[in-house]
């Protein structure tokens, strides 16, 4: 059987999400004619609901199939969805926000494609639309690279945040030896509920900022006046954008601890609280190897913070031991499609596991205890184990019960014989 439902790769994109997206028609039926003329299309975005694409048409045709191809900056190539009930005068398709994992500022390009009865494919015009958070009246302040969008707080607050952004991206680019030119959109939310709604239901707890390098967008939770928090979260998230630009390749993503570690290192350094967390974890045996945080960070609060602390600790160790230039070499290697091992080896002559071991050793840890995976406990006799045997050619009785039955019969026979002999001997006497 095919494994349509098997999802191996955590790819945020339309390709997977559209599998369950909703196709609707604006009416039933098809029109018999030889050709189709596409009218002026439109698209609308509604936060929390999704994006609606509309394509009027005339001239009529007998359609064999109608599809919409949607290109999303977050995924490779267009995702194509069949429209099950094309209308008589227009095609309509709703890309559901939840199933398509849409985040504000996601740029989409839709295009309806009609396969006519003779197999000819007619393609409509591109329909460009950006999924927006329309709950607020956004104001925008434009800098050299950063475009700041905010809805709460005064001009002075926005100016401060913009400056932090400009400085942050400049610092990150300088640190990583890269030059940024394309704009980055930076959305500031002032309350946690609205912020989490923007990030979507899969947001980890305790998150205060998020970057989506593919759409060059970052979101941050900054209350007006809380500029001290902004001074860390803004450069942190912008560093991810720079890191993403340098390391983008068609094969894999670099280890996450490196990405997060550099972001923390650039935005606030390896500070005392992170040092304390790592030291404590090393002392009580709860330190995770870096390989444990190569992907998502933990959902549990303590481990979540420890993951960040370990990440910046590792980057700090890297820079102290090998220098910033080797770190830049390492990061750039990922952009060529190098494996984790190849990138580390090219930069420092040591594979990623070797670096992991060295970092742990510096922290006084030589062995770590893992708690899983564990074998699944088997149940009691299950439907197909307690029936016994393979079933093949099982006309013969099972051997053990047969032997037992024979033994019982022999025993009974002996008893009967003995009783009979005893009765006979009694009778004889």
């Amino acid at each position: 059987m095919n494994a349509l439902s098997r999802n191996r790769f955590a790819r945020v994109g339309v390709a997977v999400a559209v599998a369950v997206a909703m196709a609707i028609g604006s009416g039933a039926g098809s029109v018999a004619a030889a050709s189709i003329a596409f009218g002026t299309p439109s698209a609308s975005s509604s936060f929390g609901k999704g994006v609606t694409f509309r394509q009027p048409f005339s001239g009529g045709a007998t359609f064999r199939e109608v599809d919409i191809a949607i290109t999303d900056a977050r995924s490779f190539g267009p995702a194509v969805v069949r429209i099950d009930a094309p209308g008589a005068s227009s095609f309509t398709y709703v890309l559901d926000a939840l199933t398509a994992n849409l985040r504000p500022n996601t740029q989409l390009v839709g295009r309806f494609e009609v396969t006519l009865a003779d197999g000819t494919v007619e393609k409509g015009p591109d329909i460009r639309v950006t999924y927006q958070d329309d709950r607020f009246k956004w104001r925008t302040k434009v800098g050299t690279i950063v475009r700041l969008h905010w809805y709460d707080g005064d001009e002075a607050f926005a100016q401060q945040a913009l400056l932090l952004g400009e400085k942050g991206i400049s610092n990150a680019a300088t640190f990583l030896g890269f030059k940024e030119t394309a704009p980055v959109d930076f959305y500031v939310y002032s309350d946690q509920s609205s912020f989490y709604d923007a990030l979507g239901p899969d947001a980890r707890d305790n998150v205060g900022g998020r970057a989506i390098p593919e759409t060059r967008t970052l979101f941050a939770l900054i209350a007006p006046g809380d500029i001290s928090y902004a001074s860390t979260v803004v450069p942190h998230e912008l560093t991810h954008v720079v890191f993403g630009d340098i390391t983008r390749n068609p094969y894999h993503q670099p280890v996450n601890w490196l990405n997060e570690g550099i972001a923390v290192y650039v935005s606030q350094g390896f500070d005392s609280s992170d040092k304390q967390l790592v030291e404590q974890a090393a002392a009580d045996g709860s330190l995770m190897p870096l390989s444990a945080i190569r992907g998502m960070f933990p959902t549990t609060q303590d481990r979540f913070y420890l993951a960040y602390a370990e990440s910046v600790s590792a980057v700090d160790y890297f820079v102290r031991t090998y220098g910033r230039e080797d770190l830049v070499r390492l990061v750039k290697a990922f952009g060529t499609g190098a494996s984790d091992d190849e990138a580390f080896t090219a930069a420092i002559g040591l594979g990623v596991d070797g670096f992991d071991t060295a970092w742990m050793k510096v922290n006084g840890v030589t062995a770590l205890r893992s708690f899983g995976p564990q074998p699944a406990p088997t149940g009691p006799a299950t439907a197909n184990s307690k029936s016994g045997g393979s079933g093949e050619s099982s006309n013969s009785l099972p051997v053990v019960p047969l032997l037992a039955a024979v033994a019982v019969l022999v025993g009974l026979l002996l008893v009967v014989v003995l009783m009979f002999r005893r009765a006979r001997s009694r009778g004889a006497s």
Partner: protein, 542 residues
Amino acid sequence: MSYAWPAPESRSRRRRPAIVVVGAALALALAIAAGTYMTGSGQLPPTSGSGSVTIYGPKAASLDPAIQSDAGSAQVVSQLFESLTAIDGAGSVRPALADRWQTTNGGMRIEFHLRPGLVFSNGAKLLASDVVSSWLRVLKPAKPSQLASLLDDVVGARAYREGTGQKSAVGLSSVGVDEVVVDLATPASDFAAIVSSSTLAVVPASIDTDAALFTPRGFVGSGAYTLSGLSDTETTMTANAHYWDGSPAIKTIHLLNDIGGKSPVSEFQSGNLDYTPISLIDASWIAYDKTLGPSLRVERSPSVEFYGFDSSKPPFSDVHVRRAFQMGIDWHRMVGLLSDPLIVPATGMVPPGVPGHSATDFGPVFDLAKAKAELTAAGYENGVGFPKITLITGGAWADEGIVRQLHDNLGIDIGYEALDGASYNERLLSDPPAFWEMDWVADYPGANDFLGLLLGTGKTNNFGRWSSNEFDAATGQALSAGDQTSVQKGFDRAQAVVQDQAPVIPVDYGGGFSLASPKLLGAVPNGQGLVRFAGLSWASGA
């Protein structure tokens, strides 16, 4: 991918102990109110005599055994409908509705004997004639099952499904109420295993005339569970009191098909899930988490991911082009770059753990010089003049890398599209793309499920329409061989042909991780990669 950063310290980052205590107390109160409790080993889902298990998994595309064809559907269908045999956790064939079977006539006939007193979930008798009618539905000429080729070894089956033979000529018959006789065109040593496929599960004879049979209200099945609820977000199953093996230990299964986009790890931690698949990117940290680590499971999957070509049309009707794609892309390196310990480069079409998996490496070999020579032999030196083709898949991880390598290595630029799952499946069957991808999970633990079924001439799942007499002969020899050495030799020969002719390119063998409550027993995928819910139970004291 997106990258997060903790919230401001003043709000939630590194909460002070007092807040943690209050939070924990609140969580405990909420957990108790919700029927859950916490122990020293961490949060546990509802256990105490609840008799229910909550699982996260895909919704079935179809509940009809004869229509469903994907792993997600099979997971559901196999709970609702039973076949004559089943596969256990070790991959062995076990009796199910049939308590025994015997092969006669030199391997050309198999007689299945049903257990006495079998009934459907509504109490109606389940007879041998129901088995025959269920299997004939799979072959229905108007619209045969996508997996109808599972029965191709049965006399007259293929002709019937192709519309060239009569139903009465199909070698399926019932003798009395409890014997099913199968006459085979060629000896099929794996037929008892084939029968375990959810496609061949037994359904009531009225299934095509009573639409209510697939609804919770009117459901009638032969499996361990009945369908008691079906919505966009949940499939609910209730223990079948009439199940041949007695009512299962777990009374209710809540199969959540949609958790609102939330992380399954978070939902498991919250006690909202007892069992859920998770990805490596979470499994790697969970392994070192004292609370969640003991719940982490590795799930080997009897599956292979492969790319294929439409061999019936240019340019891929030319074996030189297929070989150029096979050798011009570094498939193994791409798999390695995933750094996933459970996803390993394929060494052939038959995955490990499946009988017939070979010790010989039949996987693709990256050889750019040979690839370029093959491309030149096909008339497309350095990719010049290569026709415009499009790689169409369901959105697979390797797609972007393939497009890049074809450009960089061979000078070939191709188009790319990702289709949604259902459309993609239909497209493969009706109008296969020039270049496509498939992830195939065992219908039954047998090599031919990955060879003859996918590449045999005229088979329903031979998406690329490739045909090779040599390959067909090799699989035929394997299936009719009397000893294991000859069986393996036949399948190895078939794989060698595939490696040489490159109708498909096996890329990787799969596997995955899951989180399961430590007190949930029996959550072990079988030789088909399916968990039989009938085997689940809570540990005593849970």
